[in-house]
Amino acid sequence: MTRALRLAAVATIALAVASLLLRILNPFAAPPPSASDLVPHLWAVAAIVVIALTNTWAPTLAWCAAVVGSAASALAVSGMIREYRATNGFEPAPVLGALVAIAVMVPIAIAAAYATADGRRSRLAVALAWGSVAVLGTGLAASFVGRTLGGYDGGVPYSVWLAVLAGLTVTGLVRDLRPAFDRTRARVTAEAGGGHRAAGPLSVLRVFVDELVPGREAGRAEAAEDERGRIAADLHADVLPSLRRALAEAEAGGTVERLAADLRMAVDDVESLLVARRAIVLEELGLLAAVEWLAERVEDRSTVRVEIEVAPVDADGGRPPRDVERAAFRVAQLALDNVVRHALGSHARVSVAASARSVRLRVEDDGDGPPVDEAAATRAGRRGIADMRAEARACGARLDVGRDADGRGTAVELAWPG
């Protein structure tokens, strides 16, 4: 939680408490409150709960809750003083008037802080935000002084107050959501595939909401970092040895056949690496075709047999987002790789259900089951499951690893949305 947001939360809570105290202590000597008088206080309490729940992972929500909650409290307070004026016909004590003026300024200040917080300080935005706070504050102070000295009963109209509040909040929201919006546009353009069909507003909205998932950016950066490490490790472990062997063979004046065999192996390794990263079958033909092709490759290169089961899905005809397809493919690949590498079983079953709205991919084998201690397995260099989790996390999917239905073997399941 940033300092600005913490201050906003504290101010929201303080204002909520103050407005409740005013209601309970009742210095205005108002008649007992009706149920509808309590509604703003409920809003404020709900907003505080939202802030508490979301401040660490969804600052946007927490900020909006702070604005709404403080605004509700401020409205409650100003409602009380209005009622007082209406019933008594004169002003309350100056200290109460000053309190109310300050209360009304709190949500404005919070919204201004939101509009300019967290390293988004363009000078213009800061000047506009705090300038409007100053103007509004001066107006409120002037009307307070005028009322207290008597002979003045104007004030700052609600509509102006609301307009400033909304303007500042929207400024903050736009700045907050802009990166997600840019990512959405990039993704939608990429998924439209060269633009022969435009994405509908609903699917754009879906991608946008998906991009808003908190921590998505951090997860992506982490996944990219992991990926670089894996590529380096794979090059080192798979490609380099066969190239070195070919080189040694050539230098020793070996036969063309041996040299060709070594080079073929190197080509095969590079191809596998490429396939793992960017499979044109996946990009062009989709997840199911890619999994079928993967199954064929596994059967070609090992004794493991892979059966594919395709679940019927609602026929919306669309494909899932590309990053989800890639993650699902990668999980299938890593899971089957585990089956082959650790000789865990001789049969694997892959179940696929994919549509534009959901993906479920399950890989089961008939081996000895998952590693009992996942962390220890990861430390020992068996990164398969950790990598699968990283892939799933980066696209907002859930990954479960456990025993299969019969309690034997390993079952890995990716489900999106998670």
Binding site: G193, E284, L285, E296, E307, A311, P312
Partner: protein, 211 residues
């Protein structure tokens, strides 16, 4: 007596390959270079030109990092010129998809220029040129189908539809389609008939109509 030369449009984003094939086409008496394009966009423009008169399009499958050659097939359509695809990918699903989408041929890029010109002549005459790519793609010795796959093949040879096969085996129709696609790709066949003939010839299925 000489007939009109076959007019060829070349599409490739690698200038070196484009040049080499263009030179060979120009040098051949029975072929004429109708144009070259470096992208799907340019290819579409060349095809749409009023005086295009193109008989054969030779296109790379991958243009600008995308499988745009396959999209070119959709742009050309059924009544358009024959399309011969060149690719550095010999992955069976791509070859089969090219066939399904109406390509007349699919060659691996390591093919000699002579082979490419021969394939151009074949597809210009209404033939197809897939076998070389398929043979190369099926490098490893084909393995025997699994028990479940043999069940699918038995029903297929008995004339059952995918739907019927699914009902008989208690799986979804989509699962049956998936089985068949893998069998097509593994054994390098492009149709159900070819697959059935292969299954009978290899003895995977013994009696016609059994099931």
């Amino acid at each position: 007596m000489r007939s009109d030369p076959v007019r060829v449009l070349l599409v490739d984003d690698h200038p070196a390959i484009l040049d080499a094939v263009a030179r060979a086409v120009t040098a051949a008496d029975d072929l004429a270079l109708a144009g070259t394009a470096r992208s799907l966009h340019e290819a579409r423009a060349a095809l749409a030109a009023a005086d295009a008169r193109i008989d054969v399009v030779v296109s790379d499958v991958q243009l600008a990092g995308e499988a745009e050659g396959l999209r070119l097939l959709d742009a050309v359509g059924k009544d358009g010129p024959a399309v011969l695809l060149l690719s550095s990918f010999d992955q069976p699903p791509l070859i089969r998809t090219a066939f399904d989408r109406g390509a007349a041929g699919y060659l691996i890029k390591t093919s000699e220029v002579g082979e490419i010109l021969d394939a151009v002549r074949t597809v210009a005459g209404g033939g197809t040129a897939f076998s070389a790519a398929m043979l190369r793609a099926i490098r490893s010795a084909p393995r025997r189908p699994s028990d479940r796959e043999i069940e699918v093949l038995e029903l297929l040879c008995g004339g059952a539809s995918n739907d019927e096969i699914g009902v008989r085996l208690g799986v979804t129709e989509k699962t049956v389609e998936s089985h068949l696609r893998r069998l097509f790709d593994r054994y390098g066949v492009l149709s159900r008939t070819e697959l059935a003939v292969l299954a009978l010839r290899e003895g995977w299925v013994t009696e016609m109509g059994r099931s």
